[in-house]
Each structure stands twice: as structure tokens, then as C-alpha cells.
């Protein structure tokens, strides 16, 4: 019998990860339904127009799609991996000949699928209820695909790196969720970014979520809205550069700090 490659083991791990995810009803509800509930609340309460042809709901849908990248990658993994570390899953795997890369391929598959489902659900709700439109040009579609690929990769790697921060699996969501929620407030998901205090904007600009939301707006809002951004344009180049830089930081951080067992 020929031994499977790291990639084929990784794909099989991805299938198992998805199967386990679907069998945990709480995680399905928490990860998939919660953003939709938020969208329903915020989108309905703040439906006023914020610029010509742009409602707050549309602004918010773009922000929630960017948040979806953070929820399904960073938040999901930074909570899930400490639990697996506590339960001995990681140590057990380390004791087998499974290549380490297969484990991360499996996680990446789980994140990719949950990210696609979440973006699809948010977009579908945005289009059906909040006047969001799909991009009309090839350029914008390519921009969307690039944003999802790079943003999700960045978020996944940072989630793996951050998984060493919570001291235990039980406390993980108490450590990780506030980070995400605060970043969402600072990054212009719940409020219009340019309405935030200057210092808050400065802090947010260090982190990738601000750039992901701005990128999502550049896909879903009319180009005329670009003048309302901080720089007066979409800053597409800088957006991708900063997300890519965080990906590199996350990669180095993850490689240096990842542990297969609790100390």
C-alpha cells in the first residue's frame, strides 16, 4: 500500500474537520448565524442614506463581509486550536507520522468552506433586503476574489499564531472574541470609519480588519463613494500590501510559537 501524500492526508483532514464542525450545532449557529442576526439588526435600525446612492445598510454589509474573513479564520481557529491542545488532539497527532502540514491544510479547508458559506449568506441577505448589488465589472469581481483569498489566508495564519495566546481552551473565546469585537468597532464595521475619532482611526489602520473592510467597500459601494474615504480614494494597493504584510508577520509568529501540547 502506498502511503498518501501530505496533501491528500490534509484534504482528508479537511473533510473530517467539516464533518466535526457540522456535528457541533453550537459552532454552526455561533459562526454562521450570528453575523446574519447582526446584519438583520443593524441593517434595519440604521437604514438611513449616508451619501448619494449609499445607505448605511450597504456600508454595513461590506463591513460584515470583511468581518466574515476574521470570524471564520482568526476567531474560529484561535478558539478551536487551544481546545484541541487541551484535549490532547494535537499531542496525539504529533505522535503519529502525520505530516504537520496536513493538519494546517485541514484547517485551511475548514476555514475556506466556512468563509465561502458566510460570505454567500451575508451577500444573499444584503442583496435580498438591504439593496446591495453584486459587482458589475470583471475588475471588481477580480478584486473581490483577491480580497477573499488574501484576506482569508491572512486571517487563518493569524488565527493559528494567536492560538498560543489563550492560556486554556475554556478561556479562549473570552480572550479572542473581545479582540475581534473591539477591532470591529475601531475598523468601521459598526460605524462609518470617517466618523470615528482620529486616534481610533490611527489605531485601526495598524490592523488588517480596517483594510479588509475598506477593500470590501471598494467592491460593493459605487466608486463615487471613494471620495468619502480617509485618503479620498480606495487605496487598493496599500490595502493589499498591509494585509500581505500581516500574513508574513502571522506566518513567522505561527512558525516560532506553535505548540503541540499544553506546557
Amino acid at each position: 500500500m502506498r502511503k498518501p501524500t501530505a496533501l491528500s492526508i490534509g484534504i482528508e483532514r479537511g473533510r473530517l474537520e467539516i464533518r466535526q464542525f457540522l456535528r457541533q450545532r453550537e459552532s454552526v449557529v455561533f459562526t454562521m448565524l450570528f453575523p446574519l442576526i447582526l446584519l438583520a439588526i443593524f441593517g434595519s435600525v440604521f437604514s438611513n442614506s449616508i451619501s448619494e446612492g449609499v445607505t448605511f445598510s450597504q456600508y454595513f454589509v461590506a463591513g460584515m463581509i470583511a468581518s466574515g474573513l476574521v470570524n471564520t479564520g482568526f476567531q474560529q481557529l484561535a478558539i478551536m486550536i487551544p481546545v484541541e491542545r487541551d484535549f490532547g488532539t494535537l499531542k496525539r497527532l504529533r505522535g503519529t507520522p502525520m505530516p504537520a502540514s496536513s493538519y494546517f491544510i485541514g484547517k485551511a479547508i475548514l476555514v475556506t468552506l466556512s468563509m465561502l458559506v458566510q460570505v454567500f449568506l451575508l451577500l444573499a441577505a444584503g442583496i435580498a433586503f438591504f439593496g446591495v448589488h453584486l459587482p458589475r465589472s470583471i475588475d471588481k469581481w477580480l478584486l473581490l476574489v483577491a480580497l477573499l483569498v488574501l484576506g482569508s489566508a491572512c486571517s487563518t495564519i493569524l488565527g493559528i499564531a494567536f492560538s498560543n495566546v489563550p492560556k486554556s481552551g475554556r478561556g479562549a473565546s473570552a480572550v479572542v472574541s473581545p479582540v475581534v469585537i473591539v477591532l470591529q468597532f475601531f475598523s468601521g464595521v459598526f460605524f462609518i470609519f470617517t466618523d470615528l475619532p482620529h486616534w481610533m482611526q490611527q489605531v485601526a489602520a495598524i490592523f488588517p480588519l480596517k483594510w479588509m473592510t475598506q477593500g470590501a467597500r471598494s467592491v460593493f459601494l459605487p466608486d463615487s463613494f471613494a471620495t468619502r474615504e480617509v485618503a479620498g480614494n480606495w487605496e487598493t494597493g496599500r490595502t493589499f500590501a498591509i494585509i500581505a504584510a500581516w500574513l508574513v508577520v502571522g506566518l513567522i509568529w505561527a512558525i516560532r510559537s506553535f505548540k503541540w501540547e499544553r506546557d
Partner: protein, 284 residues
């Protein structure tokens, strides 16, 4: 017969605490070898170095002719030949027994058949049950199934029967012997002295980071030649006497009582008595 594990001069410290202070061991192919010792004696550290989970400070360690601390891909083909059953784990609660076992089979070059392994550990009826619905004992048997699916030459068993009822322990011992009969070498750590006595070909007692003695369970601590305690009822009193020749003592007592000796009891030191004495616990 070849040596599966050889360790000499093994040392490991955590800060100023010496967890392992010069351990020497040689474990032969096909034996069940038990490592006994109180908590904090260096047992877990020693085993984790052998399993490749921890690096040592100094010493020479060979496990299946391989240095377990070797990093990178070389370790993978070595891991292919060993099976590790860790202390209690709670993972894979959302997968069925069959899903977990057949998935782990994928990691190995030459795995056993998943259904066979599930049958071997007695979980056939629970094949399609989710991990989280298993009882403690069933859970432990799943751990063993995952440890042996790769058809290992060497199996590490860490506290395998903690929390088992007596019947489940007997069944488990039977399983371990079966694995040994199939040719595997087994390194067992346990808190249960009766378990070591029932299973192990040889036991090593470790305390304060050092091996105190390595012997067969019935020879450990001079047990075979230790004095036996003979006790019997003499009128109102229970009398007892330590003797190097208990048979002669019993014969003379029998003559004295004209046959049956009231409430006769001949007791040699149990493995537990010897062990507690060795690690310096006053158990009188």
C-alpha cells in the same frame, strides 16, 4: 532478540529541578516492560523523551535504532513504527469510532485493518457511535485502537487502565498480552502494582530521577527470598512469625495442632509492599 530501547546516562532538568538524573535502561524485543514510580519521580519525563515529545539535556537514547530527538522528516518513518497511547484524552468527540480509526490508518505506511483493530479492542458494537457518547473504559479502548492502528513494533502505554472497573481491566490486560504475542514490545507506565505484576515481564522502579532497580515482578527488591509471615490462632490470640522456611514452620505447627492449623495464613511481601519500601514510604 534485539534491544528495542536503550538509554544510558539520561538527564533532564527543569530549571533547578532535576527530573531525570542519570537513567539507564535496556528493553528487549517482545517484552512487556513496566516503569513504576511515584508522581514526580521522572517517569513521565523519561517516557516523553523516548516518545520524542521532549529533548534530553544529556545522555544516549536509541529507540528502534533511532534518536527520538531528531527533527524533521526523518522522524516520520520512525513514528510509523511506534504507537503511543497517551494519558486520558477527550478529542474526536464528534467523530464515530470507525471514522477516527480508519482516518488514523491513513497516516501509516502499513496499517492494520480498521475493522480488525476495532474488534480487537472490543468496540465493534460501538463502531458507529460518536466518541463523546463512549464510557470512560470504551474511550480508553478507542485510544488504544488509535495507538495500534499503524501496526507498531513498539507501543507506549501511559496509565492505560485508570478509571476501569475490575472486569474491564482484565479484558484490557488480555488485549495487551495479545499485542505482545503478535510481536510488539510494550512499555507500560502504571500506578497499579497488581497491573504491573499481572502484565510485566520486567519492572523498573524509578524514584527521584533514578532507576532504583530493574527485575522481574517476583524478584524485585529481593521479594523471592524475603521472609514470609506465617500467622495462626493460638487460643485467644493471633500469633505470627517471620520465617525464611515457612514450609517447615507450617509442618511443625501442623504436628503441634494435630493436623489443621486454626486460621492459617502464609503471606509473602506483595509487590506493593516491596515497592513502597523501595521508594521510602513508611507503610507500617
Amino acid at each position: 532478540m534485539s534491544t528495542v530501547i536503550s538509554v544510558s546516562g539520561l538527564r533532564k532538568s527543569y530549571g533547578s529541578t532535576q527530573a531525570v538524573a542519570g537513567v539507564d535502561l535496556a528493553i528487549e524485543q517482545g517484552e512487556i516492560f513496566a516503569l513504576l514510580g511515584p508522581n514526580g519521580a521522572g517517569k513521565t519525563t523519561t517516557v516523553e523523551i523516548l516518545e520524542g515529545f521532549r529533548d534530553c539535556d544529556s545522555g544516549d537514547v536509541r529507540v528502534l535504532d533511532f534518536d527520538p530527538s531528531t527533527k524533521g522528516h526523518a522522524g516520520q518513518s520512525w513514528r510509523d513504527r511506534i504507537g503511543i497511547v497517551l494519558q486520558s484524552t477527550h478529542d474526536a468527540g464528534d467523530l464515530t469510532v470507525f471514522e477516527s480509526v480508519s482516518h488514523f490508518a491513513m497516516y501509516y505506511e502499513n496499517p492494520k485493518d480498521a475493522r480488525d483493530v476495532i474488534e480487537l479492542v472490543g468496540l465493534t458494537e460501538k463502531s458507529d457511535a460518536l466518541g463523546r457518547t463512549l464510557s470512560g473504559g470504551q474511550r480508553r479502548r478507542l485510544d488504544v485502537a488509535l495507538g495500534i492502528i499503524g501496526n507498531p513494533e513498539l507501543i507506549f502505554l501511559d496509565e492505560p487502565t485508570t478509571g476501569f472497573d475490575p472486569e474491564a481491566r482484565r479484558a484490557f490486560w488480555h488485549l495487551i498480552r495479545k499485542l505482545r504475542d503478535e510481536g510488539a514490545t510494550i512499555l507500560l507506565t502504571t500506578h497499579y502494582l497488581d497491573e504491573a505484576e499481572a502484565l510485566a515481564d520486567r519492572v523498573a522502579v524509578i524514584n527521584r530521577g533514578k532507576i532504583i532497580e530493574i527485575a522481574t515482578p517476583d524478584q524485585l527488591g529481593g521479594r523471592a527470598t524475603s521472609l514470609a509471615t506465617v500467622s495462626w490462632r493460638d487460643g485467644q490470640d493471633i500469633r505470627s512469625e517471620k520465617s525464611a522456611n515457612p514450609t517447615a514452620l507450617v509442618a511443625s505447627l501442623s504436628a503441634q495442632f494435630g493436623g489443621e492449623i486454626p486460621e492459617l495464613n502464609v503471606k509473602r511481601a506483595s509487590l506493593e509492599d516491596i515497592y513502597l519500601e523501595m521508594i521510602g514510604v513508611d507503610h507500617a
